[in-house]
Amino acid sequence: MSILKEEFNVAKMDFVTAGEASAQIKRILKKLGVDAGVVRRLSIACYEAEINLVIHSDGGTLSLEVNPDDVVLISKDIGPGIPDIELAMSEGYSTASDDVRMMGFGAGMGLANMARNADKFRIESKVGEGTLIEMIFNLKQEA
């Protein structure tokens, strides 16, 4: 049974509130007393996912599920989907617009940074349908 479940909507191209969901998720985890190192890794991965939703998706959600042994973070959007996931995963590759790059985003680090910070990382995408990213963060050290 999960301890807590929350879902946050993230709107396309809304740079004013971008990061709010991640900040809120960070506060929730801190309040629950989750290990600081895990909170930090999760917050970074979560922010990357949130920014990706803002920049690249037509809108989506971030969902947080806190379990006794792990925290699951899912980013799900309604499109447009990624044609070549392997290419998108490679550091330095980005399809961000010039406007977005002017703000300092679009370095092509997002997905790789998520994978680096999560204990388990899974991405599924279908062009015309959307992208789903599942990240799992272990709360207990493996024996």
Partner: protein, 112 residues
């Protein structure tokens, strides 16, 4: 050193009047937010010419000590207030990033 001490070192003003006692653990200069997301760390003093709200989000997620805005670039009040709320100091100086780095390195502030 503290943010207040760092401010003196680089002729900076504490633009949001907050978190001056934060401990500066290391320094970093970069304007690519996604890059900083991958390389930031806690207690970092981060130099950037970017001044929008997302700078504060990145600094806050990494629990940085301060953001340093070089070359007298103006920062909107809304951004300064958000930083204060998050416990992040915002320093503004007329020096450019290169000179700020030089002074910080000379004073013994290391890289991340």
């Amino acid at each position: 050193m503290t943010v207040n001490e760092l401010a003196k070192l680089i002729d900076a003003r504490l633009l949001n009047g907050a978190a001056g006692e934060n401990e500066v653990k290391c320094g970093y200069a970069c304007d690519l937010l996604s890059w900083v997301m991958a390389h930031g760390s806690d207690g970092m003093a981060w130099i950037t010419v970017q001044t929008h709200m997302n700078v504060i989000a990145v600094a806050s997620l990494h629990e940085m000590s301060c953001v340093i805005i070089p070359e007298g670039i103006a920062v909107e009040q809304e951004v300064l207030d958000k930083a204060a709320e998050e416990g992040i100091a915002v320093l503004g100086t007329q020096l450019d990033a290169y000179r700020i780095c030089g002074k910080m390195a000379e004073a013994g502030v290391g890289a991340a």
